[in-house]
Symmetry: C2
């Protein structure tokens, strides 16, 4: 039976972006089904008393180099960080859940990640988000309206709570059943687990 | 010309242990010279306002699983954490510098790492340290006396200051020239850099 890989991500997380670029090929190689699970990294940090690594200046500097190392490793364009970083990803993560209702979450996720980390587009601007949704044939007005629904807001909160309950403390967080793997740099262990009998 | 890989390590760091198990083979494959550089992780944390990842409970739990994943990945025995962890590694790191004066630092480092993370030996006990040094034909009495010399104490402090000045914030930290790589999980980038023309 094909395994399911849950991918808890936040669009504000560069390491989640890096991991996201590998998921389609990983699914192809292993036959696994990838389930994109939007959550809010800031809320996970708050719940676990964790903090962004970038709060330590020396670590923040190294992260920038490391993003470059991973981008080259994966054959991606140089990773660009938004001018304002970290940015507020709340609306985007809600929109991700709307896309999920439409069965279009991976398309949404890939498009937004590319916009943020490859194309330097300002996804905190409603005009940019509208343009990006339209590019993918998504009804921006309907998406933005639905993103304000209590059901969507509650689903995002529930995803945060679920991830924290299952052990998450950062992003990206992967689950295969209840086995957890944390970080883009653990994808080789994820792949090994997906291939295990 | 063969490149030099500097390996800043602390015996209290399990990820430095994991990395240390790969260094001899890495040197063989790449022709690089590995320079073991003892420092004090606690002092690096203090200087950079970084903290041990284990201070976040959810992260601490994951680390234990992750140590197992890496041990299996490297074909090592299951990593055992000392009962008291983190332990005070100050004397051990000074002894590492004494071993360095004798040209025996890698032997010392490998022996102590094995004792701590594979054999569950209490390296905070003077008797155990004496026994371990003796096993490697090192004069324990002379080593322990020399470890108290001002020169050794100053060298350890200088190593911390140098590492922090060059950008370190955790362990293990690698340098190839001034290019820094942080973590056992970046050894594939270290190897790539060592192989680059």
């Amino acid at each position: 039976m094909p395994k399911t890989l849950e991918f808890f991500f936040d669009l504000v997380s560069p390491y989640s972006y890096l991991a996201s670029t590998q998921l389609d090929a990983l699914a192809e190689r292993t036959g696994a089904r990838v389930l994109w699970r939007p959550f809010l990294l800031g809320a996970v940090f708050k719940a676990t008393e964790n903090v962004s690594p970038a709060t330590i200046p020396a670590k923040g500097l190294y992260l920038l180099k490391d993003f470059g190392d991973w981008s080259r490793h994966y054959g991606l364009p140089a990773l660009q960080l938004p001018e304002i970083f970290p940015f507020n990803s709340l609306l985007l993560q809600r929109l991700a859940l709307v896309a999920d209702e439409q069965g279009r979450l991976p398309v949404f996720g890939h498009r937004m990640y590319r916009a943020i980390y490859q194309e330097n587009r300002d996804v905190t601007s409603a005009e940019e988000v509208t343009a990006l949704l339209a590019e993918e044939g998504m009804d921006a007005k309907a998406y933005l309206a639905r993103a304000e629904a209590a059901e969507i807001k509650d689903r995002l909160k529930a995803n945060v709570e679920e991830a924290v309950r299952r052990g998450a403390f950062g992003a990206p967080t992967f689950f295969i059943g209840e086995e957890m793997f944390v970080g883009n740099d653990r994808l080789m262990f994820v792949e090994k687990a997906l291939r295990a009998p």
